[in-house]
């Protein structure tokens, strides 16, 4: 899908979410009390966002490439994003289950090879034993430093 069409789809999604929020905002209880009601600001804002987003959809479709000359997000780009988001969400979930040390060490151990595998010019690194040694040292050091800063220094509790 071309860049301007991707933007049109994104704007359409924005318009739909804004319309949903607008309807939800209208249900906010409370009177004006000599001023404006609690529902007014969110309702008006979401209504304008929905309207502007639809205008942007129309602009994208009518103007085509002229509306947006940014390159489209490729299929591989979407895949990279999805994998990064899934792995990072899993990391946050694992912290709540297994604690900070184990999850952070595993995340720092797995992410560098994952990033190398999806980058064209770094794929070869993964096959080298020296790379794994470096990654292990990095994971150990990284976990230790972040633990020191946040848990010991700033007293963050998980």
């Amino acid at each position: 899908m071309k860049g301007h069409l991707q933007e049109a789809v994104f704007s359409l999604l924005l318009a739909l979410v804004a319309a949903f929020l607008c309807v939800s905002a209208m249900d906010i209880p409370g009177g004006a009390h000599g001023s404006i009601a609690p529902a007014t600001f969110p309702s008006v804002i979401t209504f304008i966002i929905a309207l502007l987003a639809i205008l942007n959809v129309i602009a994208c479709i009518l103007k085509g490439k002229k509306a947006n000359n940014l390159p489209a997000i490729s299929r591989q780009g979407f895949l990279n994003l999805a994998l990064f988001i899934v792995l990072s969400t899993a990391y946050v979930w694992v912290i709540s289950m297994a604690g900070f040390l184990v999850s952070t060490f595993l995340y720092l151990l797995l992410m560098p090879p994952f990033i190398c595998l999806i980058s064209t010019d770094r794929k070869g690194h993964v096959a080298k034993p020296a790379f794994w040694a470096r990654v292990t040292v990095f994971a150990l050091l990284g976990t230790g430093i972040i633990y020191g800063v946040f848990v010991e220094l700033l007293k963050v509790r998980f």
């Binding site: 000599g34 600001f41 502007l52 942007n56 994003l81 990072s88 560098p112 990033i115 980058s119 946040f150």
Partner: protein, 498 residues
């Protein structure tokens, strides 16, 4: 005299160490291509939670100054600006480096950054109390109109399209409405989520929008082949002496004034400041033909103006509570996390703190000079750290930092969701800074609109009849018309060229 004594007492060893650490980390983050000053300040924001107010703000100011100055390292050595403010630095610094004068270009940029920052600190100290004393006369109507003006300037200047700018600014304003209503206590857009009762976490928005979205932008392009980064022989060529930099004192002064002036205009930012200063330097220089081929004056103009922009941007932030661009929006977030609301009242009620911020900014500039001058070899090495190590480390820092404020995993998931939103906004040319600015201004606008209507018995008239309020509203309209006219002209020019 008492205020001066109190201010000096604020600067204990911990505060000085915090400013030094902020400056050091800011330079490192600014030196990494693609990381903006706003992202550097956002990443360090969670660290301020455990510090006292002035140490926390000093750390963030150090990071802001350091990141802007650090942006010159990749601009010089890789011809790739570390932050948008260093774009004009590449014009002459990169050719200097290519001709074996990288050391001189780096030295000039360090010294010019320090002098530009110091001059803007002096401007900040002189101008801010004057503006704050005027702003003390503002009532609810003026604050409402001012927040609308701030938002309009930002959406008009920051992006190419007014529609996109408005959408992004309004998304930020919408976020400010989430949570229990301050007047009636009614739940607004919380959908039963207890974590949203007190509103959306400011830190989750800041880190998600500025930092996580940037990580996703990097990840998207990870499979693409990138140009090799050769930074060997980075420091060849002699470092200049300070005398050599001061020889360009007229240029330094002019660029610093341009930087501070542009910085004080909401939405303008470092890239506009440095390009304007570069353009003026070229116009007035006797060696104008050398510009673009490795003229030292070009580096001095760009670097002094982008660091002077920092002081300028602090003026509306401190005096009016209006963030000028992304990094100052994050700084306001830092102040709010510490329970401080910037604005003219701050000068009246917490003068010691305000003077403390001035001194912290001045100290950050001085520390930046020494840290960058002596540590330049280390910062050059930062460019060699591979992305596959950096990106996961930055993500962990974001996640743990956001979690640390409320010990709530919901904030971390929210940060990720906002990061995805920020990615698409940035990717399709909407821009992300207006989200955070809208979030801060949205609260100001709604609170003052409601307060004003209550004061004026439900009448809207005073918003349009009080002289200062109506002036702000007219200016807001002028910016909208100006922006529409500019995009109409651009469209016409494109049609002609096609």
């Amino acid at each position: 005299m008492q205020t001066l004594t109190d201010t000096i007492q604020l600067f204990g060893p911990l505060t000085l160490l915090a400013i030094l650490a902020g400056t050091f980390l800011g330079i490192i983050l600014g030196a990494l291509p693609g990381l903006s000053a706003a992202m550097a300040v956002a990443l360090l924001l969670p660290l301020t939670y455990g510090l006292d107010t002035i140490a926390g703000i000093g750390l963030l100011l150090g990071a802001f100054c350091g990141a802007i100055a650090g942006g010159s390292v990749p601009a010089i050595l890789l011809n790739m600006p570390g932050t948008p403010g260093s774009i004009a630095t590449t014009f002459d610094a990169a050719p200097m480096a290519a001709n074996g004068r990288a050391g001189k270009a780096l030295g000039l940029s360090v010294a010019a950054s320090f002098l530009g920052g110091t001059i803007s600190a002096l401007i900040l100290m002189l101008v801010s109390p004057l503006i704050a004393s005027v702003a003390l006369q503002f009532g609810a109507a003026e604050y409402f109109s001012l927040s609308i003006l701030g938002l309009m300037i930002i959406v008009s200047i920051s992006g190419g399209s007014l529609i996109k700018g408005l959408i992004v600014g309004l998304i930020g304003m919408l976020m400010s409405t989430v949570g229990a209503d301050q007047v009636t206590g009614a739940m607004r857009l919380t959908f039963g989520q207890m974590s949203l009762l007190t509103g959306i976490s400011l830190l989750a928005v800041i880190v998600g929008i500025f930092a996580v979205s940037q990580l996703l932008l990097d990840m998207e392009k990870m499979h693409e082949k990138r140009p090799s980064m050769k930074v060997e022989n980075a420091l060849e060529g002699a470092f200049p002496r300070m005398r050599e930099v001061l020889r360009n004192w007229k240029l330094l002064l002019m660029s610093s004034f341009i930087g501070a002036g542009v910085g004080a205009v909401p939405g303008a930012g470092g890239s506009i400041a440095s390009i304007m200063a570069y353009d003026q330097a070229k116009r007035f220089s006797k060696n104008s033909k050398e510009f673009g081929k490795g003229a030292p004056e070009g580096v001095v103009a760009s670097e002094s103006s982008n660091n002077a922009m920092v002081g300028g941007a602090l003026i509306p932030m401190l005096t009016l509570g209006i963030p000028g661009e992304g990094a100052t929006a994050v700084l306001i977030g830092g102040l709010m996390i510490q329970g401080i609301q910037p604005g003219p009242m701050l000068f009246d009620t917490q003068a010691t703190l305000v003077y403390g911020i001035f001194v912290a900014f001045l100290l950050a500039n001085i520390m930046m000079l020494f840290v960058q001058w002596w540590g330049i070899r280390l910062f050059v090495r930062i460019l060699r750290v591979p992305q596959h190590f950096l990106l996961p480390l930055i993500f962990i820092f974001c996640a743990i930092g956001v979690f640390s404020i409320n010990s709530d995993y919901f904030d971390v998931y929210l940060m990720m969701a906002l990061g995805v939103l920020g990615f698409f906004l940035a990717r399709f040319g909407f821009g992300v800074a207006p989200v955070v600015i809208g979030l801060i201004l949205g609260g100001v606008a709604e609170t003052n609109l409601r307060r004003g209507l209550q004061t004026f018995d439900g009448s809207w008239e005073p918003f349009f009849t009080r002289p200062i309020s109506v002036t702000f509203l007219i200016l807001a309209l002028v910016f909208v018309v100006f922006s529409l006219r500019a995009s109409w002209r651009e469209r016409k020019a494109n049609a002609v060229s096609n």
